[in-house]
């Protein structure tokens, strides 16, 4: 089954989530990112202009959410793996731990008033900023590119 599926996709070209994608064989194309792109385009190109004024803001927000989810479907798995690696690094933990337990452990250390060595503090801050930059690439691309004052 999976082999037949793979050869079909190979035969019909590939999009951003196409051949080589981890989700291969789960569902037929379009994949999640491609479907969200289609829904976002419909909302942006046709629906906003067709709904009454009081709904336009909500439709614009909904279209933007589809764009966020489209990027999440594309970058999310790699972002999560990178965050797991960074958190495991600063915590000295195994990197097969799940993300929620790593985040919970770090949040608990930060909430504890016990002192944190400056070097560790620095590496925690760097790890958190790297994760936030990856989150922003999904939620608001370009937000971290500003050269102005914070």
């Amino acid at each position: 089954m999976a082999l037949a599926h793979a050869s079909l996709i190979a035969g019909f070209g590939s999009g951003p989530g196409g051949a080589g994608c981890e989700a291969l064989g789960v569902q037929y194309r379009p994949d999640a990112a491609e479907l969200l792109d289609a829904v976002a385009s419909l909302l942006e190109d046709d629906v906003i202009a067709a709904v009454p004024a009081h709904l336009q803001h909500q439709v614009r927000v909904a279209a933007n959410l589809c764009r966020i989810l489209e990027r999440e479907a594309t970058f999310g798995p790699a972002n999560d793996a990178a965050e797991r690696g960074r958190l495991a690094g600063v915590l000295g933990a195994d990197d097969d731990r799940d993300l929620v337990s790593l985040r919970t452990e770090l949040a608990a250390i930060l909430a504890d008033p016990a002192p944190i060595e400056p070097a560790l503090d620095r590496s925690i801050r760097d790890a958190l900023l790297a994760t936030l930059r990856a989150d922003l690439a999904v939620a608001k691309p370009g937000y971290d590119a500003t050269t102005g004052a914070p």
Binding site: Q58, A107, A111, P113, L132, A139
Partner: protein, 335 residues
């Protein structure tokens, strides 16, 4: 049951009684525009002819009293107090606690022409090159507001005895109750605790929501500061920090103060008008108010998820948390 009279007639009758006009004296009130820009509030633009104060006014109506942060009477009192001390605020000419007139408490203030909608306002500012002037006028307005004796404020106004501690506790409580741990918030909260300043030497009346979006501007500069419902007694540096938060720049990120100008311009004007600037405290409040907004966005997402306020806009707030966490951590980074 009788129908509520239309707002024109209801307001005319209320003004006739307020101004004690005789039966032969002419008075006409027409509602010539409306806006709901203040979210919960309704603003009716009025044209008044006859009587002692003909002209254009705005009736600001609070639909139900139970959601008021500050009663309309107290807000009107604060507005008049600020105006008497030279802060640009539209003059209030009447206040009503009688909800039957317009379906809620209201006050009437003079209509000030100009731009309030942020992107249009910033375009106007660019066309006339008046950003630095407006920032200077804001600094001066803050200094005047912060010079007012807080004993003159209405008794019902929020007045925490320790504004720094109260603000920190409020953010801390939200972070303790997040739907899932957010280490970036925990990091910023830890920084806020470690760098907590002493309580302010002088607690003063602060507006707490002066920003692009709450001011009226025309080609000559700043005309008015609006929306005084958040006013309280607090740390003056909170006002100066809030106007610098990134969301009020609407993309004009090279101008820290509301997309209009620089912190140096704000500080110079504030100090020149007698304000006492405390750089360390200012920086702490910048991180605090950024975190307060970030935790507020997380709260909006929670309200959507638990059904208190289901809306795609509230849901989307959850995906804006990273923006505020990023702002907080970059502020800490340069500090």
């Amino acid at each position: 049951m009788t129908e509520r009279p239309n707002p024109d007639d209801a307001l005319r009758d209320w003004l006739r009684a307020t101004w004690q006009l005789g039966p032969d004296e002419h008075l006409h009130v027409g509602v010539v525009g409306q806006s709901t820009a203040g979210a919960r509030r309704r603003n009716l633009v009025l044209e008044i002819t006859g009587g002692p104060r003909p002209g254009r006014y705005v009736a600001t109506v609070l639909p139900t009293a139970d959601i008021a942060i500050l009663s309309m009477v107290d807000e009107a009192t604060i507005r008049m107090l600020a105006r008497e001390h030279g802060v640009p605020v539209p003059e209030v000419i009447g206040v009503s606690v009688d909800e039957s007139v317009l379906g809620g408490q209201f006050f009437i203030s003079e209509f000030i022409a100009g731009e309030t909608i942020p992107r249009r306002l910033l375009r106007l500012v660019r066309e006339h090159d008046i950003g630095p002037r407006i920032v200077g006028q804001l600094g001066e307005a803050f200094a005047r507001l912060h010079a007012v004796d807080p004993a003159l404020a209405p008794a019902a106004i929020g007045a925490p005895s320790a504004p720094v501690g109260a603000a920190l506790d409020a953010v801390s409580t939200v972070i303790d109750n997040l739907l899932q741990p957010e280490p970036a918030f925990s990091y910023a909260l830890r920084w806020l605790r470690e760098h907590r300043p002493t309580e302010p030497p002088q607690r003063r009346i602060v507006h707490a929501d002066v920003r692009t979006g709450n001011i009226i501007v025309d080609h000559t500069g700043l005309r008015s500061i609006l929306d005084w419902e958040t006013a309280k007694i607090g740390d003056p540096m909170e006002d100066l920090a809030w106007v610098c938060t990134r969301m009020w720049r609407f993309g004009e990120d090279h101008f820290t103060v509301g997309g209009l100008g620089t912190v140096e311009q704000l500080r110079d004007a504030y100090v020149a008008a007698g304000g006492i600037w405390d750089e360390q405290r200012f920086h702490w409040w910048r991180v605090l108010v950024t975190m307060r907004w970030g935790t507020g966005l997380a709260g909006q997402a929670a309200m959507h998820l638990d059904g208190r306020f289901s809306s795609v806009v509230m849901a989307a707030s959850g995906r804006r948390v990273a923006e505020l966490a990023y702002d907080a951590l970059t502020l800490i980074d340069v500090g």
